[in-house]
Amino acid sequence: MESKSDSYAGSLVASLLSRMRRFLFHVLSTGPIPNHIAFILDGNRRYAKKQKLKEGMGHRAGFLALMSLMKYCYELGVKYVTIYAFSIDNFKRQPEEVQGLMDLMLEKIEGLLKEESIVNQYGVRVYFIGNLKLLNAPVRDAAAKAMKATANNDKSILLICVAYTSTDEIVHAAQEAIEEKWGETQESSKASGAQNSDICQEKHKGHRTIKLADIERHIYMGLAPDPDILVRTSGESRLSNFLLWQTSTCLLYSPKALWPEIGLRHIVWAVLNFQRVHPYLEKRRKQV
Protein backbone atom coordinates (compact mmCIF):
# COMPACT_ATOMS: atom_id res chain seq x y z
CA MET A 1 0.00 0.00 0.00
CA GLU A 2 2.80 2.38 0.94
CA SER A 3 4.77 1.68 -2.23
CA LYS A 4 1.61 2.33 -4.31
CA SER A 5 1.01 5.66 -2.61
CA ASP A 6 4.71 6.53 -2.88
CA SER A 7 4.68 5.88 -6.59
CA TYR A 8 1.41 7.84 -6.93
CA ALA A 9 3.00 10.78 -5.09
CA GLY A 10 6.10 10.45 -7.23
CA SER A 11 4.16 10.55 -10.48
CA LEU A 12 2.09 13.49 -9.18
CA VAL A 13 5.26 15.44 -8.44
CA ALA A 14 6.72 14.50 -11.82
CA SER A 15 3.55 15.62 -13.54
CA LEU A 16 3.54 18.92 -11.63
CA LEU A 17 7.20 19.55 -12.48
CA SER A 18 6.51 18.75 -16.10
CA ARG A 19 3.63 21.26 -16.19
CA MET A 20 5.80 23.93 -14.56
CA ARG A 21 8.52 23.27 -17.07
CA ARG A 22 6.14 23.55 -19.99
CA PHE A 23 4.80 26.81 -18.57
CA LEU A 24 8.35 28.14 -18.27
CA PHE A 25 9.08 27.14 -21.87
CA HIS A 26 5.85 28.81 -22.95
CA VAL A 27 7.07 32.05 -21.34
CA LEU A 28 10.51 31.70 -22.93
CA SER A 29 8.88 31.13 -26.30
CA THR A 30 7.61 34.71 -26.33
CA GLY A 31 11.17 35.50 -27.44
CA PRO A 32 13.24 33.83 -30.15
CA ILE A 33 14.11 30.20 -29.48
CA PRO A 34 17.46 28.87 -30.73
CA ASN A 35 17.09 26.54 -33.67
CA HIS A 36 20.27 24.59 -32.90
CA ILE A 37 22.14 24.03 -29.62
CA ALA A 38 25.45 22.16 -29.49
CA PHE A 39 26.91 20.59 -26.36
CA ILE A 40 30.43 19.60 -25.34
CA LEU A 41 29.84 16.97 -22.69
CA ASP A 42 32.78 17.78 -20.44
CA GLY A 43 33.30 16.66 -16.87
CA ASN A 44 32.10 13.05 -16.69
CA ARG A 45 35.37 11.76 -15.24
CA ARG A 46 35.63 14.59 -12.75
CA TYR A 47 32.04 13.92 -11.72
CA ALA A 48 32.84 10.25 -11.07
CA LYS A 49 35.84 11.26 -9.00
CA LYS A 50 33.81 13.85 -7.09
CA GLN A 51 31.01 11.37 -6.34
CA LYS A 52 33.50 8.56 -5.65
CA LEU A 53 32.01 6.40 -8.37
CA LYS A 54 33.68 3.50 -10.14
CA GLU A 55 35.63 4.30 -13.27
CA GLY A 56 33.34 4.56 -16.26
CA MET A 57 30.26 5.40 -14.16
CA GLY A 58 30.76 9.09 -14.81
CA HIS A 59 30.03 8.50 -18.49
CA ARG A 60 26.86 6.59 -17.62
CA ALA A 61 25.73 9.43 -15.38
CA GLY A 62 26.51 11.72 -18.29
CA PHE A 63 24.25 9.70 -20.55
CA LEU A 64 21.32 10.16 -18.15
CA ALA A 65 21.96 13.89 -18.11
CA LEU A 66 21.98 13.86 -21.91
CA MET A 67 18.55 12.23 -22.05
CA SER A 68 17.09 14.90 -19.73
CA LEU A 69 18.70 17.65 -21.72
CA MET A 70 17.40 16.37 -25.02
CA LYS A 71 13.92 16.25 -23.52
CA TYR A 72 14.20 19.90 -22.38
CA CYS A 73 15.54 21.05 -25.74
CA TYR A 74 12.89 19.30 -27.81
CA GLU A 75 10.08 20.45 -25.48
CA LEU A 76 11.37 24.00 -25.81
CA GLY A 77 11.20 23.74 -29.59
CA VAL A 78 14.90 23.47 -30.40
CA LYS A 79 15.00 21.58 -33.68
CA TYR A 80 18.67 20.55 -33.82
CA VAL A 81 20.77 19.24 -30.93
CA THR A 82 24.40 18.33 -31.54
CA ILE A 83 26.59 16.57 -29.02
CA TYR A 84 30.34 16.03 -28.97
CA ALA A 85 30.26 12.42 -27.87
CA PHE A 86 33.75 11.28 -28.84
CA SER A 87 36.64 13.23 -30.34
CA ILE A 88 39.40 11.77 -32.52
CA ASP A 89 41.69 13.14 -29.79
CA ASN A 90 39.94 10.91 -27.25
CA PHE A 91 41.54 7.86 -28.86
CA LYS A 92 44.67 9.03 -27.00
CA ARG A 93 43.05 8.12 -23.67
CA GLN A 94 43.74 4.88 -21.83
CA PRO A 95 42.67 1.87 -23.95
CA GLU A 96 40.35 0.65 -21.17
CA GLU A 97 38.53 3.97 -21.09
CA VAL A 98 38.24 4.08 -24.89
CA GLN A 99 36.90 0.53 -24.97
CA GLY A 100 34.49 1.37 -22.15
CA LEU A 101 33.20 4.35 -24.12
CA MET A 102 32.79 2.27 -27.27
CA ASP A 103 30.86 -0.36 -25.30
CA LEU A 104 28.69 2.33 -23.72
CA MET A 105 28.01 3.87 -27.12
CA LEU A 106 26.99 0.51 -28.54
CA GLU A 107 24.69 -0.16 -25.60
CA LYS A 108 23.07 3.26 -25.77
CA ILE A 109 22.66 3.33 -29.56
CA GLU A 110 20.74 0.07 -29.27
CA GLY A 111 18.70 1.62 -26.46
CA LEU A 112 17.82 4.60 -28.68
CA LEU A 113 16.12 2.29 -31.14
CA LYS A 114 13.66 0.92 -28.60
CA GLU A 115 10.03 1.94 -28.82
CA GLU A 116 9.93 3.82 -25.55
CA SER A 117 13.13 5.75 -26.14
CA ILE A 118 13.21 9.52 -26.27
CA VAL A 119 14.08 9.36 -29.96
CA ASN A 120 10.73 7.84 -30.85
CA GLN A 121 8.84 9.86 -28.25
CA TYR A 122 9.96 13.13 -29.79
CA GLY A 123 10.27 12.03 -33.42
CA VAL A 124 14.03 12.56 -33.48
CA ARG A 125 16.09 11.70 -36.52
CA VAL A 126 19.60 10.64 -35.53
CA TYR A 127 22.77 11.29 -37.47
CA PHE A 128 26.27 10.16 -36.59
CA ILE A 129 28.81 12.75 -37.71
CA GLY A 130 32.54 12.23 -38.00
CA ASN A 131 35.21 10.04 -39.51
CA LEU A 132 33.22 6.90 -38.84
CA LYS A 133 35.88 4.69 -40.46
CA LEU A 134 37.91 5.18 -37.27
CA LEU A 135 35.26 3.42 -35.18
CA ASN A 136 35.24 -0.33 -34.64
CA ALA A 137 32.86 -2.33 -36.83
CA PRO A 138 30.13 -3.06 -34.22
CA VAL A 139 29.76 0.63 -33.31
CA ARG A 140 29.88 1.68 -36.95
CA ASP A 141 27.19 -0.86 -37.87
CA ALA A 142 25.01 0.13 -34.91
CA ALA A 143 25.32 3.79 -35.95
CA ALA A 144 24.29 2.97 -39.52
CA LYS A 145 21.35 0.95 -38.20
CA ALA A 146 20.22 3.82 -35.94
CA MET A 147 20.41 6.33 -38.80
CA LYS A 148 18.36 4.04 -41.02
CA ALA A 149 15.79 3.27 -38.31
CA THR A 150 15.16 6.95 -37.55
CA ALA A 151 15.25 8.16 -41.16
CA ASN A 152 11.48 8.78 -41.19
CA ASN A 153 11.44 10.85 -38.00
CA ASP A 154 10.98 14.47 -38.89
CA LYS A 155 10.17 16.51 -35.79
CA SER A 156 13.71 17.13 -34.59
CA ILE A 157 17.29 16.10 -35.23
CA LEU A 158 20.07 14.76 -33.04
CA LEU A 159 23.61 14.95 -34.41
CA ILE A 160 26.06 12.79 -32.50
CA CYS A 161 29.66 13.69 -33.26
CA VAL A 162 31.84 10.62 -32.89
CA ALA A 163 35.39 10.16 -34.12
CA TYR A 164 35.09 13.83 -34.95
CA THR A 165 37.31 16.86 -34.91
CA SER A 166 36.61 20.06 -36.75
CA THR A 167 40.04 20.16 -38.39
CA ASP A 168 39.50 16.64 -39.73
CA GLU A 169 36.07 17.73 -40.99
CA ILE A 170 37.51 20.79 -42.77
CA VAL A 171 40.35 18.82 -44.38
CA HIS A 172 37.87 16.17 -45.51
CA ALA A 173 35.58 18.84 -47.00
CA ALA A 174 38.53 20.49 -48.77
CA GLN A 175 39.65 17.15 -50.22
CA GLU A 176 36.16 16.33 -51.44
CA ALA A 177 35.68 19.83 -52.91
CA ILE A 178 39.02 19.69 -54.73
CA GLU A 179 38.39 16.17 -56.01
CA GLU A 180 34.93 17.17 -57.21
CA LYS A 181 36.25 20.26 -59.03
CA TRP A 182 39.11 18.25 -60.50
CA GLY A 183 36.62 15.65 -61.70
CA GLU A 184 34.32 18.30 -63.26
CA THR A 185 37.25 19.92 -65.02
CA GLN A 186 38.50 16.65 -66.45
CA GLU A 187 35.03 15.67 -67.63
CA SER A 188 34.41 18.97 -69.33
CA SER A 189 37.81 18.73 -71.07
CA LYS A 190 37.04 15.22 -72.35
CA ALA A 191 33.56 16.24 -73.48
CA SER A 192 34.83 19.20 -75.47
CA GLY A 193 37.68 17.17 -76.98
CA ALA A 194 40.01 20.06 -76.19
CA GLN A 195 43.68 20.17 -77.18
CA ASN A 196 46.45 19.77 -74.57
CA SER A 197 46.97 23.47 -74.01
CA ASP A 198 43.22 23.99 -73.58
CA ILE A 199 43.11 21.16 -71.04
CA CYS A 200 45.81 22.95 -69.05
CA GLN A 201 43.81 26.16 -69.10
CA GLU A 202 40.67 24.35 -67.99
CA LYS A 203 42.53 22.75 -65.09
CA HIS A 204 43.87 26.16 -64.18
CA LYS A 205 40.39 27.64 -64.15
CA GLY A 206 39.08 24.64 -62.21
CA HIS A 207 41.16 25.29 -59.14
CA ARG A 208 40.10 28.93 -59.05
CA THR A 209 36.42 28.13 -58.83
CA ILE A 210 36.27 26.44 -55.43
CA LYS A 211 33.68 28.41 -53.53
CA LEU A 212 32.31 28.58 -50.01
CA ALA A 213 29.29 26.56 -51.13
CA ASP A 214 31.60 23.74 -52.26
CA ILE A 215 33.11 23.43 -48.80
CA GLU A 216 29.71 23.65 -47.14
CA ARG A 217 28.36 20.92 -49.38
CA HIS A 218 31.04 18.50 -48.24
CA ILE A 219 31.28 19.40 -44.60
CA TYR A 220 29.97 16.63 -42.31
CA MET A 221 27.76 19.05 -40.40
CA GLY A 222 26.22 20.43 -43.59
CA LEU A 223 22.97 18.64 -42.61
CA ALA A 224 22.23 21.30 -40.03
CA PRO A 225 22.35 25.09 -39.83
CA ASP A 226 25.11 26.62 -37.71
CA PRO A 227 24.48 26.33 -33.96
CA ASP A 228 22.99 29.32 -32.16
CA ILE A 229 24.47 28.33 -28.81
CA LEU A 230 27.47 26.18 -27.91
CA VAL A 231 27.41 24.93 -24.33
CA ARG A 232 30.52 23.49 -22.77
CA THR A 233 30.15 22.25 -19.22
CA SER A 234 32.69 22.05 -16.40
CA GLY A 235 33.71 25.69 -16.72
CA GLU A 236 36.38 25.11 -19.36
CA SER A 237 36.33 27.85 -21.95
CA ARG A 238 37.69 26.29 -25.12
CA LEU A 239 36.32 24.65 -28.23
CA SER A 240 38.51 21.52 -28.21
CA ASN A 241 38.33 21.20 -31.97
CA PHE A 242 34.53 21.12 -32.08
CA LEU A 243 32.49 22.90 -34.77
CA LEU A 244 35.20 25.50 -35.46
CA TRP A 245 33.77 26.30 -38.91
CA GLN A 246 30.19 26.46 -37.65
CA THR A 247 30.57 28.50 -34.47
CA SER A 248 31.88 31.71 -36.02
CA THR A 249 28.95 33.78 -34.70
CA CYS A 250 27.56 31.41 -32.12
CA LEU A 251 27.00 32.31 -28.47
CA LEU A 252 29.49 30.45 -26.27
CA TYR A 253 28.35 29.46 -22.79
CA SER A 254 30.47 27.59 -20.29
CA PRO A 255 28.67 26.86 -17.01
CA LYS A 256 30.80 25.57 -14.17
CA ALA A 257 28.58 22.52 -13.66
CA LEU A 258 30.08 19.20 -14.71
CA TRP A 259 28.18 17.50 -17.53
CA PRO A 260 26.19 15.04 -15.35
CA GLU A 261 25.15 18.04 -13.20
CA ILE A 262 23.70 20.03 -16.10
CA GLY A 263 20.07 20.95 -15.62
CA LEU A 264 17.10 22.96 -16.76
CA ARG A 265 18.43 26.17 -15.24
CA HIS A 266 21.50 26.07 -17.50
CA ILE A 267 19.36 25.73 -20.62
CA VAL A 268 17.09 28.57 -19.50
CA TRP A 269 20.10 30.82 -18.81
CA ALA A 270 21.65 30.01 -22.18
CA VAL A 271 18.39 30.75 -23.99
CA LEU A 272 17.92 34.06 -22.14
CA ASN A 273 21.43 35.14 -23.18
CA PHE A 274 20.70 34.05 -26.72
CA GLN A 275 17.54 36.18 -26.71
CA ARG A 276 19.58 39.16 -25.52
CA VAL A 277 22.06 39.07 -28.41
CA HIS A 278 19.72 37.68 -31.08
CA PRO A 279 18.45 41.04 -32.48
CA TYR A 280 22.03 42.27 -33.00
CA LEU A 281 23.20 39.01 -34.61
CA GLU A 282 20.15 38.89 -36.92
CA LYS A 283 20.86 42.45 -38.03
CA ARG A 284 24.50 41.55 -38.73
CA ARG A 285 23.51 38.43 -40.66
CA LYS A 286 21.21 40.44 -42.91
CA GLN A 287 23.92 43.04 -43.55
CA VAL A 288 26.46 40.40 -44.46
Binding site: I88, D89, I178, W182, T247, Q287
Partner: protein
Amino acid sequence: MACLVNSSAFAFSGISPLHSRSDSVSRRSNFPYRTPTTVSIKNMPSKQDALRFPPLCQHGGTTRQGRRKTLSPIKSMQDHEALPEGLKPELMPKHVAIILDGNRRWAKEKGLSMELGHLSGGRVIKNIAFLCNKWGVKVLSIFAFSTENWTRPKEEVDFLMGLFEEVGQTYMDEVTRYNVKISAIGDKSKLPEPLQELVATAEETTRGNTGLHLLVALNYSGRYDIMQATKSIAGKVKDGIFQVEDINEILFEKELKTGCAKFPNPDLLIRTSGEQRISNFYLWQLAYTEIFFSKKKFPDFNEEDFIEALSSFQKRERRYGGNK
Protein backbone atom coordinates in the same frame (compact mmCIF):
# COMPACT_ATOMS: atom_id res chain seq x y z
CA MET B 1 49.84 48.94 -36.69
CA ALA B 2 46.10 48.64 -36.28
CA CYS B 3 44.41 51.04 -33.92
CA LEU B 4 47.55 52.40 -32.35
CA VAL B 5 46.20 55.63 -31.15
CA ASN B 6 47.47 58.95 -32.13
CA SER B 7 46.68 60.65 -28.92
CA SER B 8 47.67 64.07 -29.99
CA ALA B 9 44.52 64.01 -32.01
CA PHE B 10 43.22 65.52 -28.81
CA ALA B 11 46.00 68.04 -28.54
CA PHE B 12 44.52 70.71 -30.76
CA SER B 13 43.51 72.55 -27.68
CA GLY B 14 46.54 71.52 -25.72
CA ILE B 15 45.20 68.44 -24.03
CA SER B 16 47.91 66.01 -23.23
CA PRO B 17 47.03 62.36 -23.19
CA LEU B 18 49.79 61.62 -20.74
CA HIS B 19 49.80 64.55 -18.44
CA SER B 20 47.33 66.81 -16.83
CA ARG B 21 49.26 69.81 -18.11
CA SER B 22 48.48 71.11 -21.48
CA ASP B 23 51.95 70.97 -22.98
CA SER B 24 51.75 71.52 -26.65
CA VAL B 25 52.94 68.82 -28.94
CA SER B 26 55.57 70.93 -30.56
CA ARG B 27 57.53 71.48 -27.37
CA ARG B 28 58.17 67.80 -26.86
CA SER B 29 61.07 66.85 -29.00
CA ASN B 30 60.71 63.17 -28.33
CA PHE B 31 56.96 63.00 -28.04
CA PRO B 32 56.01 59.97 -30.05
CA TYR B 33 52.69 61.15 -31.39
CA ARG B 34 51.88 63.42 -34.28
CA THR B 35 48.60 65.12 -34.85
CA PRO B 36 46.66 63.30 -37.49
CA THR B 37 45.43 65.79 -39.99
CA THR B 38 42.57 63.67 -41.26
CA VAL B 39 40.82 62.76 -38.00
CA SER B 40 37.83 64.76 -37.19
CA ILE B 41 37.08 64.99 -33.52
CA LYS B 42 33.49 65.91 -32.88
CA ASN B 43 33.44 65.82 -29.10
CA MET B 44 36.10 67.09 -26.82
CA PRO B 45 37.14 64.74 -24.09
CA SER B 46 37.90 66.28 -20.73
CA LYS B 47 41.42 66.13 -19.42
CA GLN B 48 40.35 63.58 -16.84
CA ASP B 49 38.57 61.53 -19.31
CA ALA B 50 39.77 58.30 -20.76
CA LEU B 51 43.19 59.54 -21.69
CA ARG B 52 44.99 58.52 -18.59
CA PHE B 53 46.95 55.67 -19.97
CA PRO B 54 50.32 54.82 -18.57
CA PRO B 55 53.17 55.83 -20.83
CA LEU B 56 53.96 53.00 -23.20
CA CYS B 57 57.69 53.12 -23.22
CA GLN B 58 59.39 52.39 -19.93
CA HIS B 59 62.35 54.37 -21.08
CA GLY B 60 60.28 57.42 -21.91
CA GLY B 61 57.83 59.30 -19.80
CA THR B 62 58.52 62.61 -18.15
CA THR B 63 60.59 63.93 -15.35
CA ARG B 64 58.96 65.54 -12.35
CA GLN B 65 59.30 68.89 -14.04
CA GLY B 66 57.21 67.64 -16.95
CA ARG B 67 60.10 67.56 -19.41
CA ARG B 68 60.09 64.53 -21.63
CA LYS B 69 62.97 62.12 -21.11
CA THR B 70 64.94 61.09 -24.14
CA LEU B 71 63.86 57.69 -25.40
CA SER B 72 66.78 55.33 -25.38
CA PRO B 73 67.14 52.71 -28.05
CA ILE B 74 65.85 49.30 -27.09
CA LYS B 75 68.28 46.65 -28.24
CA SER B 76 66.09 43.67 -27.68
CA MET B 77 62.45 43.33 -26.99
CA GLN B 78 63.18 40.58 -24.52
CA ASP B 79 64.78 43.07 -22.15
CA HIS B 80 63.52 42.09 -19.21
CA GLU B 81 61.50 42.68 -16.34
CA ALA B 82 60.23 40.21 -13.87
CA LEU B 83 56.69 39.01 -14.45
CA PRO B 84 54.01 40.38 -12.16
CA GLU B 85 53.51 38.38 -9.01
CA GLY B 86 51.60 35.18 -9.54
CA LEU B 87 52.55 34.68 -13.19
CA LYS B 88 54.99 31.89 -14.02
CA PRO B 89 57.35 32.38 -16.96
CA GLU B 90 57.13 28.73 -18.03
CA LEU B 91 53.32 28.99 -18.30
CA MET B 92 53.20 32.18 -20.36
CA PRO B 93 51.25 31.74 -23.59
CA LYS B 94 53.40 31.84 -26.71
CA HIS B 95 50.63 33.40 -28.81
CA VAL B 96 47.92 35.72 -27.53
CA ALA B 97 45.04 36.81 -29.76
CA ILE B 98 42.68 39.67 -28.99
CA ILE B 99 39.24 40.60 -30.29
CA LEU B 100 39.20 44.30 -29.48
CA ASP B 101 35.51 44.75 -28.90
CA GLY B 102 33.66 47.67 -27.39
CA ASN B 103 35.38 50.82 -28.70
CA ARG B 104 32.17 52.36 -29.99
CA ARG B 105 30.06 51.39 -26.98
CA TRP B 106 32.75 52.78 -24.69
CA ALA B 107 32.71 56.09 -26.56
CA LYS B 108 28.91 56.23 -26.50
CA GLU B 109 28.85 55.61 -22.73
CA LYS B 110 31.31 58.45 -22.20
CA GLY B 111 29.57 60.81 -24.61
CA LEU B 112 32.54 60.70 -26.96
CA SER B 113 32.67 60.21 -30.72
CA MET B 114 33.23 56.90 -32.43
CA GLU B 115 36.61 58.17 -33.59
CA LEU B 116 37.78 58.73 -30.03
CA GLY B 117 36.59 55.26 -29.12
CA HIS B 118 38.81 53.71 -31.78
CA LEU B 119 41.72 55.97 -30.94
CA SER B 120 41.47 55.02 -27.29
CA GLY B 121 41.34 51.37 -28.23
CA GLY B 122 44.43 51.78 -30.33
CA ARG B 123 46.29 53.10 -27.33
CA VAL B 124 45.45 49.95 -25.45
CA ILE B 125 46.85 47.83 -28.30
CA LYS B 126 50.14 49.61 -27.99
CA ASN B 127 50.24 48.98 -24.26
CA ILE B 128 49.38 45.32 -24.67
CA ALA B 129 52.02 44.87 -27.38
CA PHE B 130 54.57 46.37 -25.06
CA LEU B 131 53.54 44.12 -22.19
CA CYS B 132 53.59 41.05 -24.43
CA ASN B 133 57.10 41.84 -25.47
CA LYS B 134 58.20 42.52 -21.93
CA TRP B 135 56.74 39.29 -20.60
CA GLY B 136 57.88 36.87 -23.27
CA VAL B 137 54.79 36.44 -25.43
CA LYS B 138 56.15 35.66 -28.90
CA VAL B 139 53.13 36.37 -31.11
CA LEU B 140 50.27 38.83 -30.64
CA SER B 141 47.30 38.74 -33.00
CA ILE B 142 44.82 41.58 -33.12
CA PHE B 143 41.49 41.48 -34.95
CA ALA B 144 41.71 44.98 -36.35
CA PHE B 145 39.22 44.76 -39.22
CA SER B 146 36.94 41.89 -40.14
CA THR B 147 35.64 41.08 -43.63
CA GLU B 148 32.23 41.84 -42.14
CA ASN B 149 33.20 45.33 -40.96
CA TRP B 150 32.75 46.75 -44.48
CA THR B 151 29.01 46.91 -43.69
CA ARG B 152 29.66 49.54 -41.04
CA PRO B 153 28.85 53.18 -41.90
CA LYS B 154 31.15 54.54 -44.61
CA GLU B 155 32.32 57.32 -42.35
CA GLU B 156 33.58 54.81 -39.79
CA VAL B 157 35.23 52.55 -42.38
CA ASP B 158 36.99 55.55 -43.98
CA PHE B 159 38.12 56.72 -40.57
CA LEU B 160 39.55 53.32 -39.70
CA MET B 161 41.40 53.01 -43.01
CA GLY B 162 42.81 56.48 -42.48
CA LEU B 163 43.76 55.64 -38.92
CA PHE B 164 45.59 52.47 -39.93
CA GLU B 165 47.56 54.45 -42.47
CA GLU B 166 48.37 57.26 -40.07
CA VAL B 167 49.44 54.89 -37.35
CA GLY B 168 51.59 52.86 -39.72
CA GLN B 169 53.42 55.95 -40.86
CA THR B 170 53.80 57.37 -37.38
CA TYR B 171 55.06 54.30 -35.59
CA MET B 172 57.40 52.66 -38.09
CA ASP B 173 60.49 53.98 -36.32
CA GLU B 174 59.27 52.82 -32.97
CA VAL B 175 58.38 49.39 -34.31
CA THR B 176 61.87 49.08 -35.71
CA ARG B 177 63.40 50.26 -32.47
CA TYR B 178 61.41 47.69 -30.51
CA ASN B 179 62.42 44.94 -32.95
CA VAL B 180 58.77 44.08 -33.63
CA LYS B 181 57.93 42.08 -36.72
CA ILE B 182 54.70 43.08 -38.44
CA SER B 183 52.58 40.83 -40.60
CA ALA B 184 49.20 41.80 -41.95
CA ILE B 185 46.91 38.83 -42.50
CA GLY B 186 43.72 39.07 -44.52
CA ASP B 187 42.57 39.92 -48.00
CA LYS B 188 44.77 42.97 -48.50
CA SER B 189 43.66 43.42 -52.12
CA LYS B 190 40.43 45.06 -50.93
CA LEU B 191 42.21 47.69 -48.80
CA PRO B 192 42.82 51.21 -50.16
CA GLU B 193 45.96 51.35 -52.33
CA PRO B 194 48.02 53.62 -50.06
CA LEU B 195 47.33 51.29 -47.14
CA GLN B 196 48.32 48.26 -49.19
CA GLU B 197 51.63 49.92 -50.02
CA LEU B 198 52.19 50.87 -46.42
CA VAL B 199 51.48 47.34 -45.28
CA ALA B 200 53.90 45.93 -47.85
CA THR B 201 56.59 48.37 -46.73
CA ALA B 202 56.00 47.60 -43.05
CA GLU B 203 56.24 43.87 -43.67
CA GLU B 204 59.38 44.24 -45.75
CA THR B 205 61.06 46.61 -43.31
CA THR B 206 60.38 44.42 -40.29
CA ARG B 207 60.91 41.03 -41.96
CA GLY B 208 64.20 40.41 -40.18
CA ASN B 209 63.03 41.57 -36.76
CA THR B 210 63.19 38.97 -34.03
CA GLY B 211 61.09 40.44 -31.25
CA LEU B 212 57.36 40.23 -30.83
CA HIS B 213 55.57 39.11 -34.00
CA LEU B 214 52.49 41.28 -34.37
CA LEU B 215 49.85 39.75 -36.62
CA VAL B 216 47.38 42.42 -37.67
CA ALA B 217 44.19 40.92 -39.05
CA LEU B 218 43.04 43.38 -41.70
CA ASN B 219 40.03 42.42 -43.81
CA TYR B 220 40.31 38.97 -42.29
CA SER B 221 37.94 36.25 -41.25
CA GLY B 222 38.41 32.66 -40.23
CA ARG B 223 36.28 31.36 -43.08
CA TYR B 224 38.14 33.51 -45.60
CA ASP B 225 41.39 32.02 -44.29
CA ILE B 226 40.16 28.44 -44.64
CA MET B 227 38.82 29.18 -48.16
CA GLN B 228 42.06 30.74 -49.35
CA ALA B 229 44.03 27.81 -47.93
CA THR B 230 41.73 25.40 -49.81
CA LYS B 231 42.19 27.34 -53.05
CA SER B 232 45.94 27.46 -52.56
CA ILE B 233 46.06 23.70 -52.00
CA ALA B 234 43.82 23.13 -55.02
CA GLY B 235 46.32 25.10 -57.10
CA LYS B 236 49.20 22.98 -55.83
CA VAL B 237 47.30 19.78 -56.57
CA LYS B 238 46.70 21.10 -60.08
CA ASP B 239 50.41 21.81 -60.47
CA GLY B 240 51.26 18.31 -59.30
CA ILE B 241 53.10 19.51 -56.19
CA PHE B 242 51.08 16.98 -54.22
CA GLN B 243 48.07 14.70 -54.56
CA VAL B 244 44.65 15.07 -52.99
CA GLU B 245 45.44 12.11 -50.71
CA ASP B 246 48.45 14.02 -49.34
CA ILE B 247 46.24 16.77 -47.92
CA ASN B 248 46.29 16.50 -44.15
CA GLU B 249 45.94 18.84 -41.18
CA ILE B 250 49.62 19.74 -41.05
CA LEU B 251 49.71 20.69 -44.69
CA PHE B 252 46.44 22.60 -44.43
CA GLU B 253 47.64 24.56 -41.42
CA LYS B 254 50.74 25.73 -43.28
CA GLU B 255 48.55 27.23 -46.00
CA LEU B 256 46.60 29.39 -43.55
CA LYS B 257 47.64 33.02 -43.23
CA THR B 258 48.97 32.34 -39.73
CA GLY B 259 51.51 29.98 -41.28
CA CYS B 260 53.87 32.98 -41.36
CA ALA B 261 54.22 32.86 -37.57
CA LYS B 262 56.47 30.58 -35.55
CA PHE B 263 53.52 29.87 -33.23
CA PRO B 264 50.51 30.05 -35.55
CA ASN B 265 47.80 28.95 -33.13
CA PRO B 266 46.86 31.16 -30.20
CA ASP B 267 47.21 29.69 -26.72
CA LEU B 268 44.95 32.40 -25.33
CA LEU B 269 42.16 34.41 -26.95
CA ILE B 270 40.85 37.47 -25.13
CA ARG B 271 37.58 39.08 -26.11
CA THR B 272 36.51 42.24 -24.36
CA SER B 273 33.13 43.92 -23.79
CA GLY B 274 31.40 40.86 -22.39
CA GLU B 275 30.25 39.36 -25.69
CA GLN B 276 30.90 35.63 -25.78
CA ARG B 277 31.49 34.65 -29.37
CA ILE B 278 34.32 34.33 -31.89
CA SER B 279 32.78 36.59 -34.57
CA ASN B 280 34.55 34.79 -37.41
CA PHE B 281 38.04 35.57 -36.15
CA TYR B 282 40.42 32.61 -36.15
CA LEU B 283 38.41 29.41 -36.54
CA TRP B 284 40.82 26.59 -37.37
CA GLN B 285 43.50 28.19 -35.21
CA LEU B 286 41.28 28.25 -32.10
CA ALA B 287 40.94 24.46 -31.90
CA TYR B 288 42.66 24.23 -28.51
CA THR B 289 42.87 27.88 -27.53
CA GLU B 290 41.84 28.89 -24.04
CA ILE B 291 39.26 31.67 -24.28
CA PHE B 292 38.99 34.50 -21.77
CA PHE B 293 36.00 36.83 -21.88
CA SER B 294 36.45 40.18 -20.19
CA LYS B 295 33.41 42.29 -19.36
CA LYS B 296 35.36 45.52 -19.81
CA LYS B 297 35.10 47.48 -23.02
CA PHE B 298 38.40 47.45 -24.89
CA PRO B 299 39.54 51.02 -24.14
CA ASP B 300 39.18 50.20 -20.43
CA PHE B 301 41.20 46.98 -20.71
CA ASN B 302 44.34 47.73 -18.75
CA GLU B 303 47.45 45.98 -17.51
CA GLU B 304 45.62 44.56 -14.52
CA ASP B 305 42.99 43.01 -16.77
CA PHE B 306 45.66 41.55 -18.99
CA ILE B 307 47.34 40.03 -15.92
CA GLU B 308 43.98 38.58 -14.90
CA ALA B 309 43.60 36.97 -18.33
CA LEU B 310 47.13 35.56 -18.19
CA SER B 311 46.58 34.31 -14.67
CA SER B 312 43.35 32.58 -15.70
CA PHE B 313 45.21 30.98 -18.60
CA GLN B 314 47.96 29.71 -16.34
CA LYS B 315 45.46 28.01 -14.04
CA ARG B 316 43.82 26.03 -16.81
CA GLU B 317 44.42 22.37 -17.35
CA ARG B 318 44.97 21.73 -21.04
CA ARG B 319 44.27 18.09 -21.86
CA TYR B 320 43.88 18.25 -25.68
CA GLY B 321 41.25 15.50 -25.48
CA GLY B 322 43.62 13.04 -23.86
CA ASN B 323 44.43 12.11 -20.31
CA LYS B 324 45.40 14.53 -17.56
